[in-house]
Amino acid sequence: MMISQCKCTLTIVGLGIIMMVAGMCGLASALTDEEANIPGYYAIETYPDNYDFTGIWKEPPQTLDQITGGKIKDGMVITKDNVESVKAELISLAGENVYDMVKRGMEVTVAPYKPWPVPKQFMVATNANRGNAVISEDGNLRDKDGGWWKGGFPFPDLQKDDPQAGMKAWYNQINTYDGDDFTHDWVLMQYISSAGSVERTVAMTWDRLFLTGREILDPKPTYADKFKDITFKEMVYVQDPMDLRGFGNLTYRYNDQNKLDDAFAYIPAMRRVRRLTSGQRFDAFVGCDAAIGDFRTLDVPMGRWNWKLVEVKPKLTTLYACDYITENHNAMRLHPSTIGNKFPKMNWRIWPEVWVIEATPKTKQDCPVYSKKIVWSLGGCWKSGMGVAFDSQGRLWKTTQNYFYGYGDGKVLDKNAHYESDFYTYDHQIDHASPWHIDFAHRKFNVGFKPNRFSTKYLQRYGH
């Protein structure tokens, strides 16, 4: 009896020591400074032949100096202390919302223009399908032969006087280069108080497989005929905190822009996959300041909204916003900020042609909380940088932003993959923020996922 007690005690203590040693051995996976301190434009300057610069300015037609009469220059940091001296210029270049955020403590570091091309393989698809895109009467993007869009930018030669310019500019945005699949681990959602303190965090993964409009990986442009109506399948699952760990969401996104997603959630506390309604796209996502409908600045079925082009002009945008590879998971090289963690302190660069679009829901049912959103589509690369939401009384409510790092360096990161460092939401009315920090080291593009992975089976396996 004594011997068995001793054995049991020693086994438990021994296991603990092994765990401790193993844990200490596991500290090794962080990047070195040399590996990490690489700006996001390194790849386009080092491997220019990998990218297609069609439609992208090598240099902007007008410099920032010329646009602002010398008031805003490269290298300048706009803070609450000097913002009044450049108020009109900042509002013109970034919006009233950004001016409001700077007044509250955000800092805008103005950096030189850098072009943002697309990988050559993507432009091959754009050129192959050039001139074939039409918008059908129900607001859907189709080929001239009546099928769904096959990939690439649908309207690369878009003109401002096109009566459907707003809708077409946004169709360019949602068809911008995003790989044929991707995976992120350890996306860190933070909930930030007015004082800048972190109130709570949620870490999650985000995987997506495009089933139509595929440009890079075989099979393309459609994975299989049975998937021809589905744009992508997507899975998001929570890695932390413990009580939410394993919660997973599987989404089918349809090509038909008058349909909403199908959504299935695995709820660990119930040990079941449950159907979720996708009808409320503007419900706060896990309680944060952003809703699913705010993702990528505005993520809604296009047929359910009206799209009006407001203007096309140079803007300060958040391309190449961060000069190093962020590493959330190793708790190293986190994202610079001001007022605690409230405002990202990033680079803002001039982009010569930003298509400013006013998007309004067709009915109150389509968006019960916003009267409109103003969104940007960056002409040429057609990425979205900014979304501004107004409440039902027309008052400024939320800013949503994408902060883009750039392309991978070809060593640590894939040079055919583009990286966002932050998806950021700021609630102007309650002075509250939700930055989502993306861990580059745990993001991969064109992985070669199979459709079987995007199933309720996987949700259950992962969720336990």
Partner: protein, 489 residues
């Protein structure tokens, strides 16, 4: 080895683990992330606010104030052996202190006992491997196998079990599921059992038919549900009032089940079948006259069912759920008066149970401008299809109540989140057509990522106190305030 000592050693080990981990946020990691560990420390108190438990009357107990004071540590190590193979475990050390209430006699706090339960316990402490299983998925991701002590939950219902009949319940520590936070209720009570679970993706060439899977379950040994032990503040069995010893007959046959599921267009569907034994047990009184013993039997049951869900996201913005269960041989307690002339064993009756549910998250902007209120409504009916009148009129159980031929329940729930979901109130109301009801009002408080509190009041009421029919009113003595504080990592 003394269970308390093992528990203390577990805590010492736990501190080793904390020091040895690489830190991400809350989760702990080892071996470059291949081995992860998370879990919680929790204290949970049930404060009794009703009249005394009639099932304890035979012990002469005064009304108690403390129904439960459970302290527990749960660790969940997960080892990713390869991309395709992983091993997961849930380890629990629990300590029950309700006996600190002078009105409560000593009782067995952890009475569950079955081969392969992987636990050691004394009256007040328990250390167990609550779950342990290996997951394997093939390279093509078409076949997933889970082997080990695990849980499987079927169905579409909230707060009730229709198709969720694979695992038994451990009701010994908190009475009934309705006393737990309602969205996690069964997870806290469901007992993990040894089984093989194989899920195969079935190729479909039919347009609009997706995610078709066949799940196969094989359960080598039957495990019954565990009820609170005699003397427990939650003690549920009225027949111990009569001082009858109970002899439980545990069948030795295997159980197995199949589930075929998929998505057609926007309709999610499943077809279910389980060949199993009744978990809770049916009292057989035939031996009473022979040797004064009541038998608890677990008759064989065939459960056929289906589940459906549909998201009408554009028009009504609601999810509609249907769950249906048909049992040709649902067992019922033998209905004879123990002092009457006729004695029989448990009887079978064809029985149907179904549920229709609607979930609709709705913006109620005056109540919450940024977060919807999730409203849930369920209509549930149980029908005994065979010899209905006999069952209702003649089948008298030991506490004087009888199973109804038709039972209708309505449930309504609502929950929302404030302050970035750091304050989450919830509400559940269940109404039985015979004017019996249950209500839970609760709220979760997320103080930090690590510290979470939960408080709820649960009360049962109404005129009908039919225990045989599990009417909420029959639990009138179980009302409580539950407080829970968790440190998670």
């Amino acid at each position: 080895m003394n269970v308390r000592r093992v528990g203390v050693l577990t805590l010492i080990c736990f501190s080793f683990l904390l020091f040895g981990a690489t830190k991400s946020w809350a989760i702990l990691e080892y071996m470059d992330g291949k081995l992860t560990l998370n879990g919680f420390l929790r204290t949970q108190v049930g404060i009794h606010i009703a009249e005394s438990n009639p099932n304890l009357a035979y012990m002469g107990e005064d009304n108690h104030h403390l129904s439960m004071w459970r302290n527990w540590v749960q660790l969940e190590p997960n080892y990713q052996v390869t991309d395709n193979l992983s091993v997961y475990s849930r380890l629990t050390f629990a300590n029950e202190n309700a006996r600190m209430d002078d009105s409560i006699h000593s009782f067995e706090a952890f009475p569950k006992d079955y081969p392969g339960d992987l636990k050691m316990e004394d009256d007040n402490n328990m250390l167990e491997v609550a779950e342990i299983y290996a997951d394997y998925e093939n390279e093509a991701e078409t076949l997933w196998v889970r082997l080990g002590k695990q849980q499987v939950s079927w169905g579409q219902s909230d707060g009730l079990r229709l198709l969720d009949v694979v695992n038994p319940l451990d009701q010994s520590w908190h009475g009934v599921n309705l006393l737990e936070p309602y969205l996690e209720a069964f997870d806290n009570l469901r007992e993990s059992i040894w089984m093989a679970r194989v899920t195969a993706a079935i190729p479909s060439c039919i347009e609009d038919l997706h995610d078709v899977q066949l799940e196969m379950l094989a359960i080598p040994n039957f495990v019954p549900s565990t009820l609170p032990a005699p003397g427990s503040p939650y003690h549920l069995q009225p027949f111990t009032n009569l001082g009858l010893p109970v002899d439980e007959n545990l069948p030795e046959g295997e159980e197995w089940g199949l589930r075929l599921m998929g998505v057609y267009k926007r309709l999610e569907w499943s077809l279910n079948y389980l060949y199993h034994y009744q978990d809770e047990g049916i009292t057989d009184l035939r031996r009473v006259l022979v040797d004064g013993t009541a038998e608890l039997d677990h008759p064989r049951v065939n459960s056929y069912g289906f589940g459906l869900s549909y998201d009408d996201n554009l028009r009504t913005k609601a999810v509609y759920r249907v769950e249906f269960l048909y049992e040709p041989d649902a067992p019922y307690e033998s209905g004879q008066d123990p002092f009457g002339a006729m004695f029989g064993g448990p009887v079978d009756r064809r029985t149907v149970r179904y549920l229709i549910g609607i979930d609709r998250p709705t913006f109620v902007t005056w109540l919450n401008p940024t977060r919807t209120v999730s409203f849930g409504f369920q209509f549930i009916q149980f029908h005994v299809l065979e010899d209905r009148d006999d069952l209702e009129e003649d089948m008298i159980t030991l506490n004087g109540s009888s199973v109804k031929k038709t039972t209708t329940l309505l449930s309504f729930s609502a929950d929302t989140g404030y302050m970035q979901d750091r304050v989450k109130p919830n509400f559940l109301f269940i109404y039985d057509e015979r004017q019996s009801y249950y209500n839970q009002i609760g709220c979760e408080f997320r103080f930090t990522d690590n510290w979470i509190g939960y408080a709820a009041v649960s009360y049962f009421g109404g005129e009908d106190k039919n225990a045989a029919n599990s009417d909420p009113g029959s639990l009138y003595w179980m009302d409580e305030v539950m407080l829970r504080l968790t440190y998670q990592f």
